[in-house]
Symmetry: none
DNA sequence: CATGAATGAGCATTCATTCAT
DNA sequence: GATGAATGAATGCTCATTCAT
């Protein structure tokens, strides 16, 4: 039993260290990407946030881009199950939208909170333009789903391409806007986005005017 | 007599050359920004697209950022009049949206066509992510207008911040999507965006289902 | 008569302009050298102080070094007569030293005052290390003279090389020091330098101790 | 057993290499400074004298100025003890001067010999204008000392500022001159400088005339 | 594997100099 | 001769990447 918990001790130690180093790099990269933007981040910036040596980086990743993709993969892996179950259980477009927007806004909020917690010294950037690799990947995932869901309903006939684009656009911009408010209200953003997408600004207005 | 007119020409030639060089740099920058993203672009990338020498860049601009701003200014200068008249003449939110979306999609299309016409050597990227400084500037202009228009109607009561964000998001994503289709149909995109924003996906769907 | 005063009118105008431009460049160079140091001065710095165009510089000088030398020549030309007469009229070493030190300290002071008058925006440098080309040239002139004078007296037997070096060293350092005091007292410096060189610190001390 | 001692060696080698590179850069800088003057020297000039790569320079120094200061520090560190003991043990001004001039001329000679030994490819400049950072630093050290010594004696009453300047000037110029002679005679220069400073040219002359 | 120093290509920028007008 | 824009070599410096230990 004990042995089973620590498979092949000596190797286990090494394996753990290896995994830990990889994780450390990813974690550092996540933070630095959020802080400086993926574009402006250098490999040096990443390893500096680590207790590892410069050369070690290349034992795990071939370049900054590979880290970027690894983060994206991680994000997707974390998010795909939720999306899959949403897609399967959605009884209506509205139901799907509510769940999907909610999932996205929650995810966005988590990423953002984490960025705020860990450093993020450039106060001006807090809450603005959280465009991590994970997020982008999740985004594409949703786009695909949404296109499928749209296609499987009468609504898609209108123009599933544009409809998906619009849904995505709403998520993106309303999501960014949401992060600027305190407290961050993912629920409110979700309802807004869903209502707007389904019934337009008119519906929202009349709701508030009455 | 003709000879007497010459001096002006000598000066004219110089002036023309200067203006031409400035334009060449701006044009090159516009393309490279579109291709690589403004962030990733280096001054060298820009002048390389030109038949000018490295140092010449600095006869016209102090830095990459100055080029960026010059492009943004140019875009705004070209676009602001249209926006102003739209804003003033809009009799309803629908009218404003139709005009504004139309103006934005036209502008986007123009930029895109120009990019295609002038080189754009990396064919793969044509029509994708046209995020030039001009566009960003025009964008902010619209956002401001829209917020004002929204504020001055009952609709704003709902949540002018989110509403504006949504309208922008729709424009952004539907616009990018529009450029991927052939022929590019700005009119269709305009109507789609306006309808969706005002009445939601439901309205569009029923229209097609009936 | 009138014609004689303006030899060949058209040419005269041109000649005057030519000379004036050359002078303007030299004057500008003198100032900038004093302000920034000859080493750090660029051709651009010089012509910027002028109303001439960049290219014009090269109609008069091949390089910054040539300006430097022209200034040195000018300094020597201005100074050589005084030195010559001093050398010829010196009835004793003491007489020569008094006159030569006086001439050097006066020259130094003039240069310095001019530098202060014209700009010299780096206040910290005022009065410090005035090491213009003219000065260096004058310096070498003196060195030669002094060596000759020393050689022609019994004193030189000691070691005319070292003696000259010492006289020069005293002039240099005491001169710089002199410029730091207000008011600048060339007479005092001259007497000090002469006394020290001839009779040593002992003589000076006893004079004050008594 | 021997193998067990190896780990230290691995580290030792690295450490040695690092120190060696730092020394190589300093050494190269010393030479190039002497050859071209500190002002005119570029970082590239320094590393070119080395078998290191351009970027390596910045592993050791942030800029040329930092090298300059490191050299100055080194010179002072090497020289300060000698000066301190001289100052403390000086029973008279003469004693102080003898020791101080001797120390300075020896130092100058060492620096010069080193420059000759290590390359100094521009033969024409050997022995001329040795104005390294170390020397400048040592110089200031002496100036301070001398001023104090002067101040603590009756001699200072004359004019300690000028006296110090004169002593320094003598050291500078006689020192440069000394290096031009073969063999280099620091002892002779020391005696000359001390005698001249204390008793003037008259004393030296009479000594030789008799 | 980890380390971290060395590498050298690449970038922004400056500046002496040339040359068409 | 005067002009001033164009030139491109040179400089300080950064950074991804390699490699001996």
């Amino acid at each position: 039993m004990v042995a089973a918990a620590q498979p092949a001790q000596g190797q286990g130690k090494r394996a753990r260290t290896k995994a830990a180093n990889r994780q450390a790099i990813l974690e550092a990269a996540r933070q630095v990407f959020a802080r400086l933007g993926a574009e402006a981040t250098t490999v040096r910036d990443i390893i500096r946030e680590t207790d590892l040596a410069a050369g070690t980086f290349y034992n795990y990743f071939k370049s900054k881009e590979e880290v970027f993709e690894a983060l994206a993969d991680e994000g997707v892996r974390r998010f795909r199950p939720r999306l899959a179950s949403i897609r399967e259980n959605a009884s209506s477009l509205q139901a799907y939208l509510l769940e999907a927007y909610s999932a996205y806004f929650d995810f966005l909020n988590e990423e953002n909170e984490e960025a705020i917690r860990h450093g993020a010294p450039h106060a001006a950037m807090i809450g603005v333009r959280v465009d991590t690799p994970e997020m982008q990947a999740v985004f594409e995932e949703i786009r695909t789903d949404l296109e499928q869901v749209a296609k499987s309903t009468g609504l898609s006939l209108a123009d599933s391409g544009y409809l998906t684009a619009a849904a995505i656009g709403i998520a993106r911009e309303v999501g960014d806007h949401m992060l600027l408010r305190r407290p961050v209200d993912t629920r409110g953003a979700t309802e807004f986005a869903t209502q707007l997408f389904l019934h337009g600004a008119g519906a929202l207005a009349s709701k508030n005017n009455s």
